[in-house]
Symmetry: C2
Subunit: 612 residues, 2 copies
């Protein structure tokens, strides 16, 4: 791994990020048979046992984890989708001129220069098909759909073919995960509104991915500077770092100055969909006063960000004037930033939300670029006390209503969900969302299952995330250990992503995803065989697994030892079991074992099964 | 907090441990009205808002967290139970002489001296009542039961009386948690076998606690030296450190030399029940060769440890010869140390387990001292692939059979459970355990919900622990980040305990425990009011919460700031909500708000509810 060296000057252009493969893995690209030109990325974990096939895992990390990654941040990433989009005959737009307010009217000496990479700006003409939803409804399979199908399959034919392991089981709560994902299946899921491929036509660098309950559960990580801190270099590194450890999409929640130019660096260098909350930037443009917001400044911001290539927008159009009083008796009021901004706006003038009233126009803008909706849960509960209350569910009903409008307009839609919910109230969230939002993908923040552990909210929420993922949530928004306390640093981002990869994987296993168990089984076999290197490399975080092992047993010889420092050599159950099996085989060779087994069985030992 | 200074010499006698209150808290002792002599410990978290009552929380940390803790490790802790036990007329035993093999035949210059604190050794005569189970069955309410009832209530009358918060709800899956716990309720639960109070008559220092699904969910932490490392001082500090952060019981899994003398230091200084796995020491006595084990050495070890005051023994009597072949096709074989030792023993001589065959005699020994059974799950699955298999459930059936025998003999019993189980197979474990073990308390290790994250197994297992705790597990055995990799250090122990306190608390909330939500609500109110100090102090780990906050906002002034570095001042939703509420109040004062609400309602705004 080539570590990133942070620049000293916050306004410096990004020059380096963390590159190189994850320990023990190599990046591979594979094409579906029918489309040899589509190079779909995977990570392959090599194992030391020649009888063990390498394990192919899903890989959102982009070219950064290639062996000899040649990254030029000023030029941006390769244009994976350029030829596909180019063939769709979209209009080339002149592009909106950048205004000083886009960067918070920052003084010239504090201005971060934009990413120099130039891209054609495209948009659809009125009535021209452009979104994945429109193509899917028309029965057209796009390159994005073919790419996604191959990506989701994880070479599972090969992995499952020679499998020693039993077939996956699970309880999917009504999800319909197929044995193998075909492009046609992807198209159908999108046409039904049950999945989205967030893919702005102005983000040609994107490696397409799907969000839907019949695909692998995805993870989002948030980045973004706060009022103080972080320049473009830091934000690009946060992006690269988050996807390195497994973030499938990244939301840029930046506020403050230089927001437009920092975003240009992020998008040009992102292989994953980028989401934003446009109301944040709109608020910056009106000096942070919610009451000064209006449709014009919001609309202008949507166009600005859509032209830059943002793949999905959080739009808090469900926070209606009538819902605000429902929050009056809450313990923690409104905890969504966007939600509280809109509630304030509505209440101050006693007027209906302009996001709600202008929803048709928002759809028209987003459709032009295929920006997906992430309908924001501005009234999500901020505490166990407020979970599943009238305000939350009133907003969810509105989001259901808006989902249908957006679909009618040709847009892709997912729905954001809570928040803070005790375990016994989690399933109701999923069931209600499925019912009122027509099975549009659910995208939840946690939920946190208790409020008593600030400093550990990746764990309080990881529990809820695993459960709601199992129940049907398509994407889990990570929570870091710093939640409620401060801005996450590099370690916090990694901890948050890994925790959520655990939750997503536990959910895939429990849903009975056909490919999920392959990695667990490979790791378990490595564990039983004392293949320490393989155990490390199959872990979600090989570096930490290895470091923990080496703390007490640093020597190279210990990497083949038949024990670890936890139990020591005499008490290693796996070692004893291996001896036991050897003994059983010896006994069997003496013909004793099988015979005695039979005797036992005849004596009524119903539980007894003869060893193979 | 007074930090522990570790001694340089591993055989040095322990002299200091970590003492002092947890930040923001003070230790209080309170007596039930009917028994002013029973001083039951609690931790009280003071809040800065004069309108907020202090929050009283359960506190297993013993006298170590008193304000001016006067700890003399050589003298041991105060004898909380001495007068109660003394009044029961038990025989005073001469005590078994310590043998060189008890300490692994360690050379004189490497011998750790035993704890000098001398205690009378007691045992029950044949037919004399001694166990909590026997008293309960006879309708007798012991001091231990009264103590436990008061401890479990957490002053909830007071906390719930003036409560602004709504009443607790939950889904308890058939648990019967009362509004208030009475001594009679405790007696009844024990008599039914649904709860235990692990309390050896030779552990008078114990602060009694209950394990049962109708009480607060408990957490166990494991300590113990490994083949290399750790003397008595280190182990006592591990104990004190684990209970400081919330471990309700501690298992001493030591192996190797000095095991007897180190245990004397641990028990004399432990306010929580101590559990052990006697087969570990028995194996040490026969030079680590499972085939040399026999009933005599095991029996001698039981008596040795029972006289020292161990409160519960893990006994792997369910690993029967007939079950061993059921593990033959497993991916990870047998992963319990005790299970693999017994399986080896059985298979080598093709003989039934002596633990199973001598179970009556084991009961007789354990009853004499009121050592509780923790019936070991020697065949628990060690991987997702092996979860809920025939071997595991065959053993569980045997444990059910043994439970009834132990009850007939007058013993208290709990049942150990897995292990590694994907989410969709967790509930079956709980349901089956309840069915076949007569509702004896379940005590599970995790379970881990995936195998792919060595280095993060506190999280993979914390997910499963929260769920199985919700479903009815009475005690959760912690897993640290080092699981499968090495021996946990101090930080790992703390991380493991806090993670499991989260799981246990999330389970209590979801079960609808009447007192659980008090702390969540207090913290959420502190959050909404920007009382940062109160948020830190109400956290399970005040030190970490504060440190995380201070990383980006170190100044004292920031402790009253109406924002944190996560969102910054302009984007703080809670601040905006407060402004919004102020605005709503102002509007209302102008008589506009209420009137307009009415208009809206008349216009069909069914979702609208007027602000209070």
């Amino acid at each position: 791994m080539n570590a990133h060296v942070p620049p000293k000057d916050a306004k410096a252009a990004p020059t380096s990020v963390t590159t190189g493969p994850i320990a023990g893995s190599r990046k591979v690209y594979a094409a579906p048979r029918s489309h040899p030109d589509l190079l779909v990325p995977f990570r392959e974990i090599r194992l030391t046992d020649p009888n063990e096939a390498p394990v192919r895992v899903y890989d959102p990390s982009g070219p950064y984890t290639e062996d000899a990654a040649a990254i030029d941040l000023a030029a941006g990433l390769p244009l994976v989708r350029e030829s596909w989009i180019g063939a769709r005959g979209l209009d080339v737009a002149p592009g909106r001129a950048v205004k000083p307010e886009d960067n918070g009217n920052v003084a010239a000496d504090k201005l971060v220069a934009p990413c120099p990479a130039q891209r054609v700006i495209r948009e659809a003409a009125r009535g021209q098909m452009v979104t994945q939803y429109e193509f899917a409804k028309a029965g057209i399979v796009t390159e994005e759909m073919i790419y996604v199908a191959h990506r989701e399959n994880l070479a599972r034919e090969a992995a499952l073919e020679g499998a020693r392991e039993r077939h996956a089981d699970g309880d999917s709560f009504g999800a319909s995960i197929p044995e193998f994902v075909t492009p046609e299946f992807v198209r159908e899921e999108i046409a039904r509104g049950r999945a989205i491929i967030p893919a702005n036509v102005n983000h040609p660098e994107l490696e397409p991915m799907a969000i839907g309950r019949n695909f692998l559960v995805k993870v989002n990580a948030n980045i973004g500077n706060s009022a103080v801190t972080s320049g473009a270099a830091e934000e690009v590194e946060k992006l690269v770092w988050a996807i390195r450890w497994g973030a499938d999409t990244v939301m840029d929640l930046s506020t403050g100055r230089n927001i437009h130019n920092i975003r240009s660096w992020i998008i040009r260098n992102s292989p994953v969909p980028i989401g934003t909350v446009p109301i944040y930037q709109a608020l910056e443009k009106v000096d942070g006063d919610p009451l000064k917001l209006d449709w014009e400044v919001f609309k202008d911001t949507l166009i600005e960000q859509a032209e830059q290539g943002v793949d999905y927008f959080t739009i808090h159009a469900g926070v209606r004037l009538a819902h605000v009083p429902l929050t009056a008796s809450r313990v923690t009021g409104i905890v969504s930033r966007g939600g509280s901004i809109m509630a304030r706006w509505c209440l101050a003038g006693h007027r209906e939300s302009f996001l709600y009233e202008r929803f048709d126009e928002i759809c028209d803008i987003m459709r032009k670029y295929d920006v997906s909706f992430s309908l924001g849960d501005g009234l999500r509960p901020g505490s166990i006390a407020d979970a599943n209350d009238a305000a939350q569910f009133a907003e969810l009903e509105t989001l259901g209503e808006l989902t249908k409008i957006a679909w009618d307009k040709g847009c892709q839609v997912m729905i954001e969900g809570p928040g803070h919910v005790p375990m016994h109230k989690i399933k109701q969230n999923m069931d209600k969302q499925l019912a009122v939002c027509g099975a549009a993908p659910f995208y939840t923040l946690g939920p946190l299952t208790t409020d008593v552990a600030p400093g550990y909210d990746h764990i309080t929420s990881g529990i809820g995330a695993a459960m709601i993922g199992w129940f049907g949530t398509a994407m889990l928004c990570y929570v870091t250990p710093k939640e409620h306390l401060g801005l996450p640093n590099r370690d916090d981002v990694k901890t948050g992503v890994i925790t959520y990869r655990i939750a997503a994987h536990a959910a895939d296993l429990a849903k009975g995803h056909p490919a999920a168990k392959v990695r667990d089984d490979a790791l378990s076999r490595a564990r039983f065989d004392f293949r320490w290197e393989d155990q490390f490399n199959l872990s979600l975080d090989p570096d930490t697994a290895r470091a923990f092992h080496d703390e007490t047993m640093p020597k190279e010889a210990h990497k083949v030892a038949h024990f670890c420092s936890m139990c020591g050599p005499k008490f290693c159950s796996m070692q004893i079991t291996q001896e036991l099996r050897a003994e059983a085989r010896a006994l069997e060779a003496q013909a004793g074992m099988r015979e005695k087994s039979r005797e036992f069985l005849e004596q009524g030992g119903a539980l007894y099964v003869a060893a193979e």
